[in-house]
Symmetry: C2
Subunit: 127 residues, 2 copies
């Protein structure tokens, strides 16, 4: 697959795909005789994986480290596991934080809808 095909398939810009490759966020992509990228199954798998992780906000830095370890072989499994566990914790915290903000948002939305703002804004310290 060419870079523009992959770009459409995953809805990511060619620039982002090249950027991810050059910083080591995905392993080097195979090239054809002309030097153009020719994405195979494996490359696509990496892109899909990275896209998923990035969509949840995992930092690029942690993912680069993970990819680097992956490419070093099975000896790095404990280190990879540690990265995953660490990021898992961070995601749990993120969800907790979003949930509490959501509750607050819902509460405010209810107030705005019920037109009860006037008497509550100051008393209840609602912003």
């Amino acid at each position: 697959m060419t870079i523009s095909e992959v770009s459409k398939k995953f809805d990511m810009s060619p620039d982002t795909l090249r950027y991810y490759e050059r910083i080591g966020l995905i392993p080097p992509v195979p090239r054809n005789k002309g030097g153009l990228r020719d994405y195979d199954e494996d490359s696509c798998g990496w892109i899909e994986f990275i896209k998923c992780m990035r969509s949840a906000g995992l930092p690029i830095e942690a993912l680069i480290e993970y990819v680097k370890l992956f490419r070093e072989g099975d000896d790095t499994i404990p280190a990879r596991l540690e990265i995953l566990l660490e990021q898992r914790e961070i995601l749990l915290e993120k969800i907790a934080s979003i949930n509490s903000t959501l509750e607050r948002l819902d509460y405010k939305i209810e107030f705005y809808r019920s037109g009860k703002m006037r008497e509550c804004e100051n008393k209840l310290n609602l912003k």
Copy 2:
């Protein structure tokens, strides 16, 4: 309260507090005779509110708009409600995305722990 007290109370740097004020993310903070910030109840309420919203990732731009509308009075309640509803949707999407990444992460963690990676890495396209 002085800026350093507020800084400790909310665990935010004085620079961030001043930054928030100058971009309009919080209304102007009252000053004492010497021109130093003297945070009152209301200012602290805004900071706490903004901190909560930012912790969930609401963009500063949207919050500035919300604060601006708030300060313009009750006529802007519908517009404010719209911002809140829009951001609520975004948070729901964010949670969904994080949850699906979490599932994937848990699955991988289980694999790494069970030592079954060798036979699965390539077949199942696990990265």
